[in-house]
Subunit: 197 residues, 4 copies
DNA sequence: TATGAATGAGCATTCATTCAT
DNA sequence: TATGAATGAATGCTCATTCAT
């Protein structure tokens, strides 16, 4: 079915939605067939196994995450602290899709033991850390900046757990507020609460 | 099979191990039968559905978590900051069982959507928050103490994601170090890094 | 559990209700345990197999049918044609219990092939035929009376099929009206539509 | 498997035989798999549930009944009374298949409570009634013809109960003889007892 | 007498996957 | 490239029955 770039992208998006909604093991090839409009056998024409299909989906999710969230870190048109907040707000927005939280963490915790997706998922965390490190790097030495970045992600993942269990968006909002407030640059600038995104 | 208290506890422990290892959906009743020595039909003699069995397992896990980790917060024989560190070290140790991370978060992220276990899992987070709040309460007002407690748990869950993906225990250790260092009391006392556990 | 006559009778009645409602194969020992208040193992204390339990239930049903319906044929206090109509009205009433129709025919059609209950079920039909033959015997020779009796039962069973499928009691009522009207004695007597039962 | 018309028909016939022999609840998908040569999972490729498969089988049985028995009523090449007798003889023949009696009544009495097949089964009775009414319509007014038709079916179903329980084909034969004898046209014509079928 | 525990076989159904067309 | 048909293994769960107590 994925005959053009656009179609393949749409195909993977539809699969992503299903995997994100149900988790890896709780998603059947039948579910994916229904969601994409292909026949079950059609899926196997493009991806030899469910695992490999999922691999493509994770890859796709990472690409989307790159262009939607991580790219903000390098957006020269915005000041550092605005890039920081914009990234957090986009993370927040992603977590709220169907109240499913962080796709990477969901898959990581569900399938971490098999190590099959670990490398890719870890890659996602790494790029994420890099992007945030870059921003922290304006105020901290590289090592410290990296630690701050990782800590931010950790808090985010934790906030997502609370959010997913309760449905209270406040956990995510508090996370953003707190992190923005603690971000070095913010103490210098003032009142930039609402950005476009 | 669980005809005596000890046997039921052992039964639930064995189920917990399997669920923790495979996740909820990736664990079959057959897996549990093998792990517990019962026949599949025997499991249904005690628990009418897989979901309800899991509910008992989560309940059991919470009880264990209470007596192993949360109880430390009220251990009058230890100073506040030692209780704090001891709790974190026990959290850390739990996360390292088969490198599976936090049982509650694993289940929460995998099954959060159906809301069936949410109440219990949220109860676990609440009690956990309460215990840590109590300790923070020595140095902060109640509201702030609660926020610190939640933030600690969030960081822990995030650290666990990194640990589970990489297998590097350093992420957990760093989390403990950092948290202990940031704990108010610790600045007054000195050098109590390694407790028994 | 069936320790006294009354209790055993109650026990069998409860089983009868369940078998009548669900059919033989669609009734489980669990269903019977629930309906009677015994444990499953308790049932096996009194009846070695489901089949033998059912045999007792059929026996019980026949006894009830004898005393409730067939006995009317010999009720000397009523004229022949009133006995006839009263029997039919009682048959009708039985068929309307939970809209299940004729217990004997239900079991006969469901399990007829195995022949296990056939002898008893056939006994029921025989006694039934005898009772009606006796009444027809006042107007026909024995052989003809027997044929009339069988034909009446056949029509009854057929009417029950229509009733069970549609839920329209009219089929049963029509059967009664038509049969009463065709009964020889009735042409002599007049207006005895409603009896006590 | 049913990829051609003929094969689907054969498939349904094989299922019909099994359902007719064992009843609905006493037939397992395994039984049907064995009888049709498919694997259990293969059955589900064509029919999503056992109930829906049965629905198709009932539909198929009705179609067969239409073309084998009901169509005789409109066979212009035969005089009315011969059509009537031919229909009864075909009913009789159907009842004798493996001594199972009337498929529609068997299913009706076994599953009538859940109402799932009722509509179709009632449809069968209706068409049956229509066909016979048409024949009776040559001698009675429409309302009376319909009543006669229903009564005939009722007697047939009752005769089948006796036949199934005893194995005596005489009950069916008597039913045919008696009905043919009572059929209005027959009193005019003479001696046409044995037709081809 | 009664029951809680247990079981092996079986239930309807779904799984990821294959293959002929 | 795509699909309808098929499958063997497994799914969660129920069955009639047994047995130690």
């Amino acid at each position: 079915m994925p005959v053009q770039k656009i179609e393949k992208s749409d195909f993977l998006l539809r699969c992503w939605v299903v995997f994100h909604r149900n988790g890896y093991h709780n998603t059947s090839m039948q579910d994916l067939a229904k969601a994409t409009g292909l026949q079950k056998a059609g899926l196997y024409h493009h991806y030899p196994t469910k695992q490999l299909l999922m691999e493509s989906v994770v890859q796709y999710a990472l690409e989307q995450f790159r262009s939607y969230t991580l790219s903000v870190a390098h957006d020269q048109s915005l000041p550092i602290e605005q890039r920081f907040e914009k990234m957090l707000r986009r993370q927040r927005r992603l977590a709220m899709i169907e109240r499913q939280g962080c796709f990477f963490a969901n898959i990581a915790l569900e399938t971490g033991r098999d190590e099959f997706f670990n490398k890719m998922l870890l890659g996602a965390l790494d790029e994420w850390t890099d992007a945030l490190s870059m921003l922290y790097g304006y105020f901290y030495d590289p090592e410290q900046a990296r630690k701050e970045a990782q800590r931010l992600i950790m808090e985010y993942e934790g906030a997502v757990v609370f959010y997913k269990l309760t449905g209270h968006e406040q956990y995510l909002e508090d996370f953003v507020q707190r992190s923005v407030h603690a971000f070095p640059a913010t103490s210098l600038t003032t009142a930039n609460t609402s950005l476009g995104i």
